[in-house]
Symmetry: C2
Subunit: 304 residues, 2 copies
């Protein structure tokens, strides 16, 4: 793919999304078979109600950029584990005791549709399912044992104490308080950045990439995670709920945002600078993939 000029990002994203959705359907079929119907419905709601599938696509893209075999369907099974974790975090973050959100991607949130007990249980069922999915997919991809362990550890650490769990707490604590720039970066680095970076790291590890390449993928992932959040804040400040498909809730909840902290123009500039630094890290490690450049620009230029 190196050097091609005919790369079309929307076509690429759509094709990838279909592969990811097929893998998610495989995962769901296994997962819901043993769940009571009401919890199964909540799991399906959390996993299938839209979404860009950005994390799995980043994982599969990184895998191929590092020399992984392009056609292996098991890479999408590995990638889907990230979406299962992402879905769990959205379901739990929306709960009444957290953000108490009514809408997500234009539809009622999981607990509004299926009740709070089913939503709590659905989220909790997704975590072990994701761990098992990652472990088995790494093995199916033919990864060495140490690699399988590293891939799974990356997912578990990003989703647990050192990653999203801490980030969600910092986010909650930020309500009604003014955070400075460093605190806001730290919050979003854990809440959003950890899993995005893990997506790329898992793809690179699964392809047995060199440590320097994995480090570059992590830097790129952290950068686009931050750019993604800054852009979210910009969109919250400039779009209506109708376009976003969710409530612009950070403003309502009186959370610090990149826009409230730096203003709209500076926030947009920061997002572009951050993306450029992520792409520089990839270039320095000689990771060349038009999809990764395209995705970096997409993250800051999207309108929802």
């Amino acid at each position: 793919m190196t050097g091609t000029t005919s790369f079309d990002l929307p076509t690429y994203l759509e094709a990838e999304r279909q592969e990811v959705d097929a893998a998610l359907q495989r995962a769901l079929a296994r997962l819901v078979a043993s769940l009571p119907p009401a919890v199964a419905a909540a799991v399906r709601h959390g996993v299938t109600s839209g979404g860009k599938r950005l994390r799995p696509i980043l994982c599969a893209t990184a895998y191929r950029a590092c020399g992984g075999v392009a056609e292996d369907p098991a890479v999408y099974d590995l990638a889907a584990s990230l979406e299962l974790i992402h879905a769990y975090s959205l379901v739990h973050d929306d709960l009444p005791c957290m953000d108490d959100a009514a809408l997500r991607r234009g539809t009622p949130t999981t607990h509004r549709e299926h009740g709070e007990p089913a939503a709590v249980l659905a989220g909790a069922a997704l975590i072990p399912a994701a761990a098992l999915q990652a472990l088995e997919a790494a093995q199916a991809l033919g990864c060495a044992r140490a690699t399988s362990l590293a891939v799974t550890r990356t997912l578990l650490e990003a989703s647990g104490a050192g990653g999203m769990v801490g980030g969600q707490w910092l986010d909650l604590m930020g309500e009604g308080h003014s955070l400075d720039g460093a605190a806001l970066d730290h919050l979003h680095g854990r809440k959003t950045g950890a899993l995005l970076a893990a997506s790329l790291v898992m793809g690179g590890l699964a392809a047995e990439a060199e440590p320097a390449v994995v480090d570059a993928l992590e830097a790129y992932g952290t950068a686009i995670g931050l750019a993604f959040q800054i852009t979210d804040d910009v969109l919250d400040a400039t779009s209506s709920a109708e376009i976003l498909g969710k409530n612009p809730s950070d403003v309502v909840l009186d959370k610090s945002t990149y826009v409230s902290l730096h203003g709209l123009d500076a926030a947009r500039r920061r997002a572009r600078e951050v993306v450029a630094s992520g792409l520089n890290a990839l270039n320095a490690a000689r990771v060349r993939a038009p999809a990764l450049s395209g995705l970096a620009h997409y993250v800051v230029e999207r309108d929802r």
Copy 2:
């Protein structure tokens, strides 16, 4: 240990509990290091506020009964992963949208002490931590790759969709409804039995036991899980909150219990019959361990 007549269960349980608690302290040190203090405190509360450590002790006991090296401390790291999952389930089951419990083991429940958001996040942080702990401990024990995967899968399946998550839902749905004997067995088989059986299976697998032995351990674990729950119902019906250290909440919540269904005497008789069938399974597979016989009787003869 086979055939010894000097086996003293209380001494054994106390020595094992100390090893398990030491392993839990190692696990907690790693886990809380990366958590915000309030969530770290909720995790500590959930993991360290008492408890019999029955699941880890069963795991370590099964490991040794199947020829595992008695002195390897990594077996307690493996065993501790079960307690991390057990702690997560108690923290989440006590939440306002679940059982809304105020007391657990004589102290306020985690959400009453640390707030609901910290309790939800603490529970969610424990799941990936437990998965990682099991995976790494199996490797430290020198398990083959397939065995490590089987050990970890056993933990994840028991804690997820096919096990405790479904069991908790059935338990909630049973409030205010009359369940028949089969439905009550199914509920508790998932809510309590799955993780108890997993404890024994994980110990047997880690010691590379034969499939027939692992099956016998599972049958024994399922049996003592059921006997444990029947005994809980008997204790709820006959003890005060002061002795139990918790509210006798199943009666308050109008849940079906083995006592409400069968009466006190028949419930006690059933617990003994179930334990006997579990011990028969062990005998048939020639698994001889005084600790496993002792534990089976302890489960039905305990007073809290």
